[in-house]
């Protein structure tokens, strides 16, 4: 396994990325950058992380040939099984890596933001395992709709701090975590949950998540003796997508980023009916990076919408914004209904209940199978247990 090292002076992907943060946070962020650059070259650090990925997180995850789905779609489909990672999603790949960075930096406290609770749980897990005090910011609205994950975090010894500002969802939880960090950086590490945010987070998170793609690259060559025609992954902030895409960027593989189409393309003054910042967003600055965002003409951030809490974010990582611009990554949308179809179909056909987020990639594949070519990989970023209540409720609507 080898991580793509981010280069000291390169904080941007084309015009995207950068560090648009208050001065008080520049020093903490530069320290994280420096620590990560140093550690990513350290054999000991990598051995340590690889040990945890293997023995604690349960890696490698299988690349599963989904025979029934393949038959349904008339092409050969493999599923990358991040649903089997400890905690139930790819999120732990990143939290393990960053928590080890935090440890090496001598920090004793972790803070994180969470929307659906998956990154919060993954942070609480590493907090417990590696002995940090852990506090997770979560919007009040999200706390209400994700009670079980709140309880999981608490069981794991983390404190969940309700965020009452703004739209009281993920976006505001991130704001609040930055505010905390601005006062606490001395002992505290901000463990960001997706491949967005100020540099070095987009690169670092992509690197830690690229274990997905590195495994998949090796596995598909072993199984098929060739690379896939296509890889599809869902996109919230972009961490699972960049994780599986990164090791294939130089290859002739079509990379499809499936965003939340939500209820459609509608907008109001303050809200968008989707979470499709890559497909429908415009250039802007959110959470420390210049990227594609959902905003009004004046630059106010819109509240996004998706049935999948993990895709319900008005921004996206800057590297994906760049890769969209260059045409290397194709942004696509799956709306709520399509995602639900993916959710049901994968459950029935293969006995795998995907996360609603991942179900967007599956749903897209069901709708546009030709886009997948003859041999494709779909990234199943997480398992759907967390979404049962949501889907049940949606059904009765």
């Amino acid at each position: 396994m080898s991580y793509q090292i981010c280069d000291a002076d390169k904080t941007k992907f084309g015009r995207y990325g950068g560090r648009f943060v208050p001065e008080i946070l520049m020093q903490p962020i530069l320290e994280v950058t420096e620590a990560y650059e140093r550690l990513s070259k350290s054999k000991e650090f990598r051995a340590n992380l690889e040990g945890l990925l293997k023995n604690f997180a349960g890696r490698p995850t299988p690349l599963y040939h989904a025979k029934n789905l393949s038959k349904e779609l008339g092409r050969k489909i493999y599923l990358k099984r991040e649903d089997l990672v400890h905690g139930g999603a790819h999120k732990l790949n990143n939290t393990l890596g960053q928590a080890l960075v935090a440890k090496q930096m001598g920090k004793t406290r972790l803070i994180a933001e969470t929307g659906a609770g998956q990154h919060g749980v993954a942070t609480a897990i590493v907090g417990a395992n590696l002995g940090f005090e852990t506090q997770v910011y979560m919007g009040e609205v999200d706390i209400e709709r994700q009670k079980m994950n709140v309880y999981r975090m608490e069981l794991l010894g983390a404190e969940v701090i309700p965020v009452r500002s703004g739209s009281r969802t993920l976006k505001d939880a991130i704001n609040e975590a930055f505010r905390d960090w601005a006062a606490s950086f001395e002992h505290t590490y901000y463990l960001f949950g997706t491949a967005a945010g100020p540099h070095p987070y987009p690169s670092m998170v992509r690197d830690f998540q690229s274990v997905i793609g590195l495994e998949a690259h090796k596995q598909i060559m072993e199984e098929e003796g060739r690379l896939p025609d296509c890889i599809a992954a869902c996109v919230g902030g972009g961490s699972n997508a960049m994780g599986i895409f990164a090791p294939f960027l130089k290859d002739n593989v079509r990379l499809i980023a499936v965003e939340a189409g939500g209820r459609g393309l509608g907008r109001t003054d303050k809200t968008a009916d989707n979470g499709a910042s890559l497909g429908c967003g415009t250039d802007g600055v959110l959470h420390g990076a210049l990227t594609k965002i959902l905003q009004d003409p004046f630059g106010q951030i819109l509240e996004s919408y998706s049935l999948a809490a993990g895709l319900d974010y008005p921004g996206v990582g800057p590297e994906l914004a760049f890769l969209k611009e260059t045409g290397r990554v194709l942004p696509k949308m799956a709306d709520d209904k399509t995602a639900l179809q993916g959710f049901r179909q994968l459950s029935r056909l293969e006995g795998i209940i995907p996360a609603l987020e991942s179900a967007h990639a599956v749903g897209y594949a069901l709708q546009e199978p030709e886009a997948l070519g003859e041999l494709a990989i779909i990234n199943i970023s997480g398992r759907g247990d967390k979404d049962l209540a949501t889907v049940m409720e949606y059904e009765t609507l």
Binding site: T11, P22, M26, P28, K171, R179, G299, Q300
Partner: protein
């Protein structure tokens, strides 16, 4: 008036308010009252949906202002109407500027009598294009330095800033606090005398303001304390606070012996 001109008459009191709070219509009058009460510079905030550098007080003000119809177009109307003979400084997040277009934004500032811009989420590294736009339109671009800004970086920021240097009084976000830390004193001391320096974030009482001036600052920025009074509709007490602050820093300037509080 250019900011550098204003800084001839130290010590200065800079007062922050959020444009549009409680309503766009109320803002011009408020600015005039503050000027009459003794403010030397008005920092006029453009509310943003995601004010990451601000504490609860200013966040709430921004939400009220947005709800009351504040947007960038209205902002510049209001700023023009707030016709005072002290400088006005824009304060707001980069995305609002970026969305309008950097050049247009700087031009609108100049047109509506705004002398400078404070953009708390825009470090010098990312500020090149805006800097150019500001130069084109004769608007100062003020950078911030914080207690944890290391020496080399502080030097770079000093060089890059124009108008004055905004010193962040302490770690955290905006919001009233009860003490001034050694960190702040150290930061003030680290900036050479030639650089006009204003200290903000957390200064809410005349005593604190005086202390900051005694520590060597050229100006004091007061924000949340004022916003709080506006939120409560206590405009006379606001004027009173401004008067007291102004008196305190003037007195402090004369007797420069530091007091421990």
């Amino acid at each position: 008036m250019r900011l550098s001109e204003a800084f001839q008459a130290k010590p200065l009191l800079i007062v922050y308010i959020c444009a549009g709070d409680p309503s766009p219509a109320a803002t011009p009058d408020l600015v005039k009252r503050l000027a009459r009460a003794g403010a030397d510079i008005i920092e006029l905030g453009l509310p943003h949906s995601d004010p990451v550098a601000d504490g609860p007080t200013i966040q709430a003000a921004a939400q009220r202002a947005i709800a009351a119809g504040m947007n960038t177009d209205v902002y510049f109307l209001v700023a023009s109407e707030a016709d005072v003979d002290i400088p006005k400084v824009f304060m707001g997040y980069y995305n609002m500027i970026f969305a309008r277009g950097l050049d247009k934004f700087a031009a609108d500032c100049a047109r509506s009598g705004i002398s400078g811009m404070i953009v708390p989420d825009l470090p010098p590294e990312e500020a090149g294009p805006l800097h150019e736009a500001c130069l084109r339109h004769g608007v100062d671009l003020v950078f911030l330095a914080a207690p944890n800004t290391p020496p080399a970086r502080l030097e770079m920021i000093q060089k890059e800033t124009s108008g004055f240097l905004y010193l962040v009084a302490r770690a955290g976000v905006t919001g009233a606090r009860s003490d001034i830390l050694q960190d702040t004193r150290d930061l003030i001391a680290r900036v050479p005398d030639g650089v006009p320096k204003a200290v903000g974030f957390g200064i809410s009482t005349p005593e604190q303001a005086a202390e900051v001036i005694r520590a060597g600052a050229d100006a004091v920025i007061v924000g949340s304390a004022c916003v709080d009074l506006i939120a409560r509709g206590e405009i006379e007490r606001l004027e009173q606070l401004v008067r007291e602050m102004k008196a305190a820093i003037k007195a402090a300037k004369k007797s420069k012996a530091p007091i421990v509080c």
